[in-house]
Structures are given as structure tokens and as C-alpha cells.
């Protein structure tokens, strides 16, 4: 029978299927961190249950960790991290703590170790687990009860989801990135458009992307309301994986690749829904509002709430503009920012840092602007330093930080002050997400870099225009 990629991976993991009951699905990899795991371990302790497969479980510290040297000072964060360490030791789970060369944001660490592979089921108590779908894995976020469930049983009872194809065809123009693609997708289908679906990103524009760019796209599937996002594995995927510490070796490698090649949606398979995006028409995208669907091309202006047909959209836009301190009609390019954040599980990988560094190289960030550059993992940080990217950023006046979730989510010392405006490469522009009263514009790494240099929302093309004008 023909099927979609998501259905094939699902079917390959059904432990038990019974009429009227959810399927019991086997979980290949369970990633954990300090915030959503404490009560899960406590539940195991209370019930006297062990972790069934410590060898399929991996922990890292990311949400709470400070990105400046020194210990955690916030007492609540400290307790969460210490609790994770105690739990991992007691239950025999491998943990990469702060300061370890393998430590980093959980969704950067899994792929970089080669642990995330095509056709796997991957879960984590974090909604951005969808990132791992870039490898053709079925990867989704779960709640604390489910974390406990997977720790105890290595399986989860799940109701099947529907499938949606996101067909991105054509060639992306120079200066248009994966981040712009996913922001455009979310603006098109809305923050609830993916509800109940696994999205499969397809088409030549997706096939042309690197693994890291694919991760950026799958990462934000959750911002479209989807349970997961996936991309079929191909030569790019295999090349990325080959030689990584946990990738298969020798005969296992050959067997794995043979299987991975079968992981694609059959030509006659039918999706429950399809969306077509013309890649060649896309330009750099930024958000103006307080949900990730409130985005527009950088060349446009802040919309008038009255221009929305739907009553709830009108209300939501009006509330967003009030919170963001924006007036309808203001050109997005005229919006001045205070802070630029480059990092997160969306855009904290080496390619993101390289792209941004290429923009700022030999230049200085605008006076009064604070720019934080936060590598997604210790390995990314080390790689960047080997390439001299740290010097490029610090010479430009930016801060070069230690790896962690940082300013993505206001759970550690990196936060915005009330009213402070930030161009951020992260994934959520909710009210208060980056700190109480903070104002977030979601952007790509190169838009973040150009914005830091000019002080207003900008693309690298604006820098070239400036240079021409001066000449």
C-alpha cells in the first residue's frame, strides 16, 4: 500500500494496534532537559519504576543555563539543574552538563552527535522537538506525564495525525533563507493551520537546502500549530550523518542507508491537505505582531488592523500593535531596535553564525545596539572560534556568549526589559516571551546581522544600497 513519509515512519513503530484504542508507538530516542523532567523522574520514584532504556535516553542542560561564565545564581534555576543531575545519576541517564563539550540546546545536540537519524521516532518534553524531523524522523514534543511514560516504557499511546504537504517550488533569491520560508508558511496557513497535522516540506526549494536550513524549517512547524514537520532524507542527509559519533558504521551504515532511501512519500500517496509556496517570490520576512503568523516581507509596512477581514484577526492585530508600540503604516524598515539576538534551536547552528558573520565582518554594529551571539552548543561555539567567527562578532561590538537557550525564552538571565525591542532569530514573539514587556521581531540570521549594523530592521541588501549611496 502506498503511503506518506509520516505514515511509513509511524507504521514502522507500532508496537500494538487494537480497535478503539490509540496505537502504542515505540520511541527510538528520548531527549530530556531540566525543565520538564523533574516530576517525571519523581513519578518513577513514587511508583518504584526504573528507566526502561537508559541507552535510548539523553539529557542536556539548556533552558536555565546562564550564557556568561560562572555558576547559576537564580535559586529556582539552580534547583532544576541540580535535580536533573541527581535524577540522571540515580537512574543511569547520560547527561551533558554545563561546561561539557557536548552540552548545548537539546535540539542542536541530538543532530550534531548523529543521534537523530531518518525514520526514527524522537520525543522530548519541548515543543521544538519538531526540529529533528529535518532528517525524516517523526519527532514531536510531549508533556511531563508523557516524559514519565516514555522513561518507564519507551513507548507512547498515540492517536494518528493527518498529513499535510507543504510544496515549496522554485529557487530562493539571494538573501532569502530557510527562516524566511518558514515565516512565510506560518503567515500563509496561520498559527492554527497545522493543527492535527504532520507537515511534510517538499519540492525543489526544500531539496536544495542544507541540513541545518532544513532544521530551521522543521523547528518552527509547531508555530504553525502542527504536531511535527518532516523532510524526506536524501543524499544531503546521508552526507551530513556520515562519520558523526553515533551514526552507523561499516555494514550497519550500508543497511541503514538502504532503509533510509525507502523513506519517501510514494508518488500515488495522498495527503489530507496540500499548500503550495512559490519560493522564487519570497523575500526576507519579519514579524510585526505577537504571534509568529503576524509576519510580512521586510519591504512592507505595519498593517492597519482594520484591513483584516476577520473580526478576531482585527482584534488580535490591534492588541499586537498596542503591545509592540507600533503604528499602522510604519515601514517595517523604519522600525528601530535596541537589541539583536542571534541564537536558539531555530538559528543557533554553525551555518547561522557563518552567515551572520559574513554580513558583519569588518563592520561595527550601530551605536546603542546590544547584540548577543549565542552558539547553540559548545561544539558550535568551538567550531566558530576555530573559524575566527567569535572575533568577527566581538570586533563588530557584539557579545560572544556560552551556549544555551538564552534570550529565546526568558528563563535565564538573558531577558529584555519592558519596552525593549529586539530583532531575534528565535521562534516565538509572544507577549513577554523574551522578558516581561519585551518586544520581539522574528528574523533570519542575516537580517539580524544587517539590523545590528543599521539599527533598524534591515536586510544585507540594504547595506549594499548604503554603500552605493556613499560611493
Amino acid at each position: 500500500m502506498s503511503g506518506t513519509l509520516a505514515e511509513k515512519v509511524w507504521d514502522a513503530h507500532v508496537v500494538r494496534r487494537a480497535e478503539g484504542e490509540p496505537d502504542l508507538l515505540y520511541i527510538d530516542l528520548h531527549l530530556i532537559h531540566e525543565v520538564t523532567s523533574p516530576q517525571a523522574f519523581e513519578g518513577l520514584r513514587l511508583a518504584g519504576r526504573p528507566v526502561r532504556r537508559t541507552d535510548l535516553t539523553l539529557a542536556t542542560e539548556d533552558h536555565n543555563v546562564p550564557t556568561t561564565p560562572g555558576p547559576i545564581t537564580d535559586p529556582v534555576s539552580k534547583v532544576q539543574v541540580e535535580t536533573l543531575r541527581r535524577n540522571c545519576e540515580q537512574f543511569g541517564v547520560r547527561l551533558y552538563p554545563m561546561g561539557d563539550i557536548e552540552q548545548g540546546i537539546v535540539h542542536v545536540v541530538g543532530p550534531q552527535l548523529g543521534l537523530t537519524q531518518p525514520g526514527m521516532t524522537v520525543v522530548c518534553g519541548d515543543s521544538h522537538t519538531s526540529t529533528h524531523g529535518a532528517f525524516g524522523a517523526l519527532a514531536f514534543g510531549i508533556g511531563t506525564s508523557e516524559v514519565e511514560h516514555v522513561l518507564a516504557t519507551q513507548a507512547l499511546p498515540l492517536r494518528p495525525f493527518r498529513t499535510m504537504a507543504i510544496n515549496v517550488r522554485g529557487q530562493l533569491a539571494e538573501g532569502v533563507t530557510a527562516k524566511d520560508v518558514i515565516l512565510a508558511v506560518i503567515a500563509r496557513i496561520g498559527t492554527g493551520g497545522g493543527q492535527g497535522y504532520v507537515l511534510e516540506y517538499r519540492g525543489d526549494a526544500i531539496e536544495a537546502l542544507s541540513m541545518e536550513a532544513r532544521m530551521t524549517i522543521c523547528n518552527m512547524s509547531i508555530e504553525a500549530g502542527a504536531r511535527a514537520g518532516m523532510i524526506a532524507p536524501d543524499e544531503t542527509t546521508f552526507a551530513y550523518l556520515e562519520g558523526r559519533p553515533h551514526a552507523p558504521k561499516g555494514a550497519d551504515w550500508d543497511a541503514a542507508v538502504a532503509y533510509w532511501r525507502s523513506l519517501r512519500t510514494d508518488d500515488d500517496a495522498v495527503f489530507d491537505a496540500e499548500v503550495d509556496i512559490d519560493a522564487s517570490a519570497l523575500t526576507p520576512f519579519v514579524t510585526w505582531g505577537t504571534n509568529p503568523g503576524q509576519g510580512l516581507p521586510l519591504g512592507e509596512s505595519v498593517p492597519d488592523p482594520e484591513s483584516f477581514a476577520d473580526e478576531s484577526d482585527r482584534l488580535s492585530a490591534a492588541n499586537a500593535l498596542a503591545y509592540m508600540g507600533l503604528e499602522p503604516g510604519t515601514r517595517l524598515r523604519d522600525i528601530k531596535v535596541d537589541t539583536v539576538f542571534l541564537g536558539s534551536c531555530t538559528n543557533g547552528r554553525i551555518e547561522d553564525l557563518r552567515a551572520a558573520a559574513a554580513v558583519v565582518k569588518g563592520r561595527r554594529i550601530a551605536p546603542g545596539i546590544r547584540m548577543l551571539v549565542v552558539p547553540g552548543s559548545a561544539k558550535v561555539r568551538r567550531q566558530a572560534e576555530t573559524e575566527g567567527l567569535d572575533r568577527v562578532f566581538t570586533d563588530a561590538g557584539a557579545e560572544w556568549r556560552l551556549p544555551g537557550c538564552s534570550m529565546c525564552l526568558g528563563m535565564n538571565p538573558d531577558i529584555l526589559s519592558p519596552g525593549e525591542r529586539c530583532a531575534s532569530t528565535s521562534n516565538r514573539n509572544f507577549e513577554g516571551r523574551q522578558g516581561k514587556g519585551g518586544r520581539t521581531h522574528l528574523v533570519s540570521p542575516i537580517v539580524a546581522a544587517a539590523t545590528a549594523l543599521r539599527g533598524t530592521l534591515s536586510s544585507p541588501a540594504d547595506l549594499n544600497a548604503d554603500a552605493l549611496q556613499e560611493a
Partner: protein, 197 residues
Amino acid sequence: MDKFETHTGVGVPLRRGNVDTDQIIPAVYLKRVTRTGFEDGLFAAWRADPSFVLNNPVYAAGSVLVAGPDFGTGSSREHAVWALMDYGFRVVISSRFADIFRGNSGKGGLVAAVVSQDNVELLWKYLENHPGAQITVDLVARTVTAGDIVAPFEIDDYTRWRLLEGLDDIGLTLRHESDVAHFERGRPSFKPVTFLG
């Protein structure tokens, strides 16, 4: 999870509708790393009021909460169920529960018994006239009994079965442990492990 067939305990009349989960346990109590000990957060704001029902010593051993309609609305936090159970409640009676709360109750082992509002009113009057009186909740017969009042209650068959058998979600999956083990034996050798040999 303990099996639940019948339970007899002190009934607590909570004459309020739309009890949302922020009232059941405010967000400030969610930073904990433990799975127990949430009883101090239960109805924390209301307990500051000396006249609040749970501040009456006669209800100190309360285990059956009789509340107004739309109990458990708002945030999906599982801590709301944990707080009620940590405090000692085994059953909440209401004419209507929020969906997520009802689902979380089933997972946690708390019986969410749907009783008609007319019968809730009768129970409230009875408990107020006989402070500290006991209520018997029979999950087998699906009845609530207090004094002369015998009221039927609704609960979905699947949740009822799980509560009667004492099966939490994990317990249910562990019943199929042999299926999991069988599946594991068939996993390809190229699948990765987190420990490097």
C-alpha cells in the same frame, strides 16, 4: 495507581462555578521539581479568606469535593489534579468539567463524577445541614450516596474501567510489556544508542 471501587469520606461543599485551574493552583506553585507536596497551593488565594470552606476544621479530612458547574477550566496544568489529590481529595463532583481537566483526572486517579446540578444542590444543602457528613461514591454502581440522597453520576466507560483496575497510562502500557519487548528484539542493529561503546 490504586484501584478505585467505592470511596466514603467527608464531603466538602464548594459553592462556586467556573473554578479554573489558576484558582485550583496558582502558577507560582508550578516551579517545583517534585511530583508531590502541592497541597499547600490548593485554592491558595481562597484559603487566605478565613471563611473559605476548607478553613473550617470540620472539613479537615475532606475527600469528596462537591463543586459548581464548569470545574477545572483554563490552563492545562496537570498540577491542578496533583494538588487536589495531595490535599486528600479522591473525588470531585460537578455538573460539568472542562475536558482537559477531566482527562488529567483520569490520568492521575482522581474521580471526576458528573452529577446533575439539581442533585449537586441537594448535596450542598445536605452537607451544609450536616457539616462533616460523609459521602459514598460507588464507581461500580455509578452512584453518589449521602444520607437519604442517592444520585447517579456519569463517567466514561474507558476512564471508569481504568480507575476500577487501578491502571494509570503507564500501567496500561506496561500490561503490553511483552509486545514492547517483542518489538525491541526486531529493531535493526543500525539504530543508535546514547552510550558510545
